[in-house]
């Protein structure tokens, strides 16, 4: 198949397993985010794709060809490093022209391509400036332009925006996504910022402990997390124990929830309910009983902390649907079955 395929890829450093038996296929032209906490193996996986680390096991295929043993400089990829790794002794233009110079491109061709790329990253006329005179965001763009100079098959970015301030980062996320769509290039980004992943990716790959926990489109990751780790890592969520009663129906804190089904044969399960899906009503009427402990009114959203069954449940609502509750008040919690995601154990 066309695109990038990782088969059974593992990487061990001594006794430590950084990447454990990973399968991943990235179709041509998609934008993939490797997301996870630090030490989850996402950067190692990216470096394996780049050829900067040799996998202990497994194979890497690019458009059907095995590239596992192809050295980095013959893989035809572009990579942006966390440190950016711009060459301090070269000007902006020379940095971008570096890969062209290595390939022995003619001087005019180099200049033409550099001008093209500078326009693409909205820095026309910056070619002669020294790299040290640029701002953080500008350096970021130059690193991107340099990585794209040879029109690579795969574009890899290792925490590319982590050095930028929050506002610039948000803007660059949008810009990077637009750039990727314009060029239609297969892109893999490593990030620990879930907002970044949600903004840019076609597919979010959530990793932990060297394993891929879930690989799916962002909204599916959010709406249908596969397990406790993904549910907890992406956004905030309420993780609630569900038990089967004597008749086999699902109950939460002893209250039967109609329409909710436990996996076949399971006596209990953990479900994930996003705070914005928790509805508060008057107690009784089949709702789960709870007591409001705190109300955090942030203006744009209101977070209500409710204690139920010895556990804290958070409900988020907009000012329009403002639940008129105060701390200490008894409320009923309504969880509709379609928002309760039963997680794998």
């Amino acid at each position: 198949m066309s695109g990038l395929v990782l088969n059974n890829v593992s990487k061990q450093f001594g006794t430590f397993t950084a990447v454990d038996n990973v399968h991943l296929s990235v179709p041509h032209g998609t934008f993939v985010c490797l997301l996870g906490p630090s030490g989850c193996g996402k950067t190692t996986l990216l470096r394996i794709i780049a050829g900067l680390e040799d996998p202990t096991n497994g194979t890497i295929l690019l458009d059907g060809a095995d590239i596992t043993d192809v050295p980095t400089h013959r893989r035809n990829l572009g990579m942006v490093f966390q440190s950016l790794a711009l060459f301090p002794h070269l000007s902006v233009g020379e940095n971008i022209a570096y890969p062209l110079r290595i390939r022995g491109a003619a001087r005019e061709e180099q200049k033409k391509r550099v001008d093209e790329l500078l326009t693409l990253i909205h820095l026309p006329g910056y070619g002669d400036r020294p790299v040290s005179k640029l701002s953080g965001g500008q350096r970021q763009r130059v690193a991107i332009a340099r990585a794209l100079a040879l029109s690579p098959k795969i574009f890899l970015l290792d925490e590319p925006l982590s050095a930028l301030d929050a506002k610039l980062r948000e803007a660059m996320q949008v810009e990077l996504r637009q750039l990727q769509q314009k060029l239609g290039i297969t892109t893999i980004v490593v990030t620990h910022d879930q907002r970044e992943a949600m903004t840019m990716a076609d597919t979010v790959v959530v990793m932990n402990g060297g394993h891929i926990r879930q690989a799916a489109p962002p909204i599916e990751i959010y709406r249908k997390p596969a397990d406790t780790f993904v549910a907890d890592f992406i956004g905030s969520t309420n993780l609630i124990e569900t038990k089967a009663d004597s008749s086999g129906a699902a109950t939460i804190f002893g209250q039967r929830v109609t329409g909710l089904a436990l996996p076949a044969g399971a006596q209990k399960a953990t479900i994930s309910v996003r705070p914005e899906d928790v509805h508060l009503t008057a107690p009784g009427n089949g709702a789960i009983d709870g007591t409001v402990t705190f109300v955090r009114d942030l203006g744009g959203t209101i977070e209500t902390f409710v204690e139920a069954g010895g556990q804290q449940i958070v409900a988020v609502s907009t000012p329009r649907e403002r639940p008129e509750v105060t701390a200490g008040q008894a409320v009923g919690i309504v969880l509709s079955p379609d928002v309760c995601v039963v997680l794998k154990q």
Binding site: F87, Y98, A149, L156
Partner: protein, 284 residues
């Protein structure tokens, strides 16, 4: 953080001790030497205070000019050989594990503890006809019969490079370790083989360090006077050898001082020139 400029004399206090040491142990002896270089030599003995240029005049001859030229050429060659050998070595060293790096560095430091005399005699044995390396070459069939590889220019160069190499590595090491390792990786992802990346990323990025190291080794090599005598013929003797000869064996202090002053001036001039060229190159 911006520091305030010193307000009173007391603020310069911390500088007094080093400044005093520098004055007593460097400026005064150097001043004495400059003064002595203008003194009149007494035949067969000491010298009397005077202000004559005869010592400098005597120096301006083809013979001493040739020796000076050879000394500078030798020092430049040693500096270049050392940096060319040390740069790839130190780069590879910096990529080893911490433990191996420490073992290598301790080994290099132990070479520094060898005296110049021991290095000289060790190499004269290694390069000799009777017991030297050429016997090994005969054994493995590279040579037909053992030859004496010393005294020769090659032997002087080998000994001096051997002596200066640990310094070179120790000067380059911190700069290379501090260099962002992703620079080399970036070059590889951009289509540069590791060897090309070494030459068109690492070397230019370390330009200033390499320049400073060349100057340091050059000056270090310029002062060498034992190795050229042990491993070389008289035509391989440096100006430092002649200065030692004049000062100790001929008891001609004023002439030795004049040569020393001249050597210092030429050295400073060359270093200044190198820095000037370096700065120009940076602007371009």
């Amino acid at each position: 953080m911006k520091r305030e400029p010193p307000q009173s004399i007391a603020d310069y206090g911390p500088l007094f001790f080093p400044a005093g040491m520098l004055l007593i142990f460097f400026v005064v002896p150097f001043g004495t030497m400059i003064a002595v270089s203008f003194f009149q030599r007494q035949e067969g003995g000491f010298y009397t205070p005077a202000f004559v240029f005869s010592n400098y005049e005597r120096f301006l001859s083809a013979f001493f000019g040739g020796v000076l030229g050879f000394s500078l050429m030798l020092a430049v060659t040693v500096a270049i050989c050392c940096v060319v050998l040390a740069l790839p070595f130190t780069y590879l060293l910096s990529r080893l594990s911490r433990r191996l790096q420490v073992i290598w560095l301790v080994g290099l430091l132990s070479v520094l503890s060898l005296s110049e005399v021991i290095i000289g005699f060790a190499w004269s044995t290694l390069l000799s006809r009777t017991a030297g390396l050429s016997n090994l070459f005969v054994k493995i069939g590279l040579l037909d019969q053992p030859v004496a590889l010393f005294p020769s220019f090659g032997a002087v160069l080998t000994g001096m490079v051997y002596q200066a190499l640990p310094y070179t590595i120790l000067v380059l090491y911190p700069a290379i370790v501090r260099l962002d390792p992703t620079l080399m990786e970036a070059a590889r992802t951009l289509g540069s083989s590791p060897i090309r990346a070494f030459f068109n990323v690492l070397v230019p990025a370390l330009r200033n360090t390499i320049m400073a190291t060349l100057i340091m080794v050059f000056i270090f090599a310029l002062g060498s006077y034992l190795l050229p005598q042990i491993l070389g013929r008289p035509q391989h003797w440096t100006l430092s050898v002649l200065i030692t000869d004049q000062a100790i064996y001929q008891s001609n202090m004023p002439f030795a001082a004049a040569m020393a002053v001249f050597l210092v001036l030429v050295t400073l001039g060359l270093v200044a020139l190198t820095l000037l060229i370096g700065r120009k190159g940076e602007k371009a």
